[in-house]
Symmetry: C2
Subunit: 350 residues, 2 copies
């Protein structure tokens, strides 16, 4: 039995005894069709089980009805990324509301491969793109301009005039974390920063510096982590070698903090008794750790929703909302406490 061809508006038109044009108008709810005719057309469409063909609609409307998100990173790292799934969930819920799809690409092959993917997407596969993982002098700004593809920066670009952007101010949360530690009495507060070059790595580190400066504390030791967080372990070991040892560590991600806590536990160092630990992201497991992790929470799903709304506005020719959302906020749990009595530290100073 031959698979019955999907009905087209031509079929609907024939069935309703009108022209193709009338069907199109009726189905799109546009004026210029008598109510009785419109009803008849809609009935026919329903009866035949007509569904608009996405490819034809895309071609004739010159719109892909989809947004693109290109992630330039080894795919394997997605499994350890706190941002990715939640941002995606937020974007997706918003796009679904207006019948748009999300086209996702993970590309590993360096800038050229990345540019090739943007070029492909720009050729009618998507109507706009999200730019995440912003870095200083981000080459994608030139790229999307050259390709004439609408783009939204996720986070505040170094040159915020250049593109619409939607960001969550993580500096506020990171600063709150440092102040919290200072209030608890800490004076030797270390930082494990994230991947160098990323805008949010810088903003978190700067917040840490600001917090120390405003408390009149000299800048403590800082080491650099990476994407998958495993480096948090090594970073922590290197911090333990400092003399005097830090009494608190502010990590740029929960995953690095978790890796660090495991090192501390293995060394017999109590958290928070000996060293206080602060993470960043408030991942699902953060509250499930022992002790539950003090961290900085940002509402990544809301961020995704807002970003999607902004990009939709851009592609629909409206004025996009741009700027900061609610800032990240400190979530105090049990991994932070006053520093240990400084007895042995004084000895160590000699």
């Amino acid at each position: 039995m031959p698979s019955p061809r999907r009905p087209t508006i031509t079929d609907v038109a024939r069935h309703a005894g009108v022209s193709k044009g009338a069907v199109s108008f009726a189905l799109n709810g546009r004026p210029g069709v008598a109510d009785s005719t419109r009803a008849r057309i809609l009935d026919s469409a329903r009866e035949l089980g007509w569904v608009p063909d996405h490819r034809a609609q895309a071609l004739s409307r010159s719109r892909a009805m989809a947004m693109g998100w290109i992630i330039a990173r080894p795919a394997r790292l997605l499994g350890a990324d706190a941002f990715f799934p939640l941002f995606l969930a937020g974007v997706e819920t918003r796009l679904s509301e207006v019948g748009r799809a999300l086209v996702l690409h993970v590309v590993e092959g360096g800038p050229d491969a990345e540019a090739a993917v943007y070029r492909r997407l720009a050729a009618g596969r998507v109507d706009g793109v999200f730019l995440t993982d912003l870095c200083a002098n981000d080459p994608r700004f030139d790229l999307v301009e050259r390709l004439q593809i609408p783009a939204l920066a996720v986070g505040r670009p170094c040159d915020p005039q250049r593109l619409p952007w939607v960001g969550v101010d993580d500096g506020t949360g990171a600063l709150a974390a440092v102040r919290h530690l200072v209030e608890l009495g800490h004076r030797r507060i270390a930082h494990v920063q994230g991947v160098p070059g990323l805008v949010h790595t810088t903003s978190r580190r700067c917040a840490w510096e600001t917090g120390l400066r405003e408390a009149g504390i000299p800048l403590g030791p800082m080491v650099t982590g990476n994407f998958d967080g495993l480096q948090g372990a090594e970073a922590t070991r290197s911090l333990l070698a400092w003399d005097p040892r830090p009494t608190a560590i502010v990590y740029a991600s929960d995953l690095m903090a978790i890796a660090g806590m495991q090192v501390l536990a293995a060394e017999g160092i109590q958290v928070p008794g000996d060293i206080s630990v602060v993470g960043f992201d408030d991942v699902a497991v953060a509250r499930l750790l022992h002790p539950p992790l003090t961290t900085v929470r940002h509402d990544v799903m809301a961020w995704g929703r807002a970003a999607a709304s902004s990009l939709l506005a851009i592609t629909d020719g409206e004025e996009p909302t741009t700027g900061w959302l609610d800032p990240a906020e400190l979530v105090i749990r049990d991994s932070t406490a006053p520093p240990p009595k400084p007895l042995h530290t004084i000895t160590a100073k000699d």
Copy 2:
């Protein structure tokens, strides 16, 4: 300055002094064009910066060049899902190799909303779909058949004849976990199962039952967890109330295991000294816990790649590979050890 219209094959044809058809043949590497002409056409295309318009290509080829993945779940839960990002990464790397995109949808509104999304995607937005989170009597099998959309089941369906499928046998790994505990001397092995109804929940629970049965141990207590793992905490508390208390707990996911370990730690129960813990998934943090978590690993990225390859084969009219991939395997770390000496247990029995 007017935005210079993107060049079409008509422009290329004019530039090279040939017809549209010749350009199409040349660009697609099909015979019937003289080599010299072909070279001239390719030069023109390169010079003009021609890129195929995806919408036009999709319409005329009647292919969307994209695959769909519809996830019917509250979007928020994606942040706590070990499977999602890795499977996606695997799928995506494979699809990218052949210029296909992944169209992703997260839908929350129940079966009707889900069916509506499938209908939309089937209307030319994608060429095939992945079916994940299989459950018994999955209504999507009828749905995709009715919509005539190629589909691949991710995991082994209850009726494996009905659709091509690619699965990872998690039963083998779960069974290995139970055997490992039995060998260590455990006799009271509990299980915290996953979301009821899902195929993999059943297969893991059955493996646990098999392991106990083959060791001649009566079925221990079992409780039910959920998606986000937080219920792992409550489940664990309920297990602690059993008398005699289990000496080992096999969780259906790492996240539940982590939540459980936190409860155990809070109760002053040593892991693995008092109770051994086994997870499932081998998420990134599993090795970073204290103690590092014994768990069952499945290569989810490879699964994603294989699934993508199979679905590509289906939509390209080839014979898809179907069946099991490498089975999940036990990863022994430090959260499992022999049970405590049964002194007080004997007392408790009276």
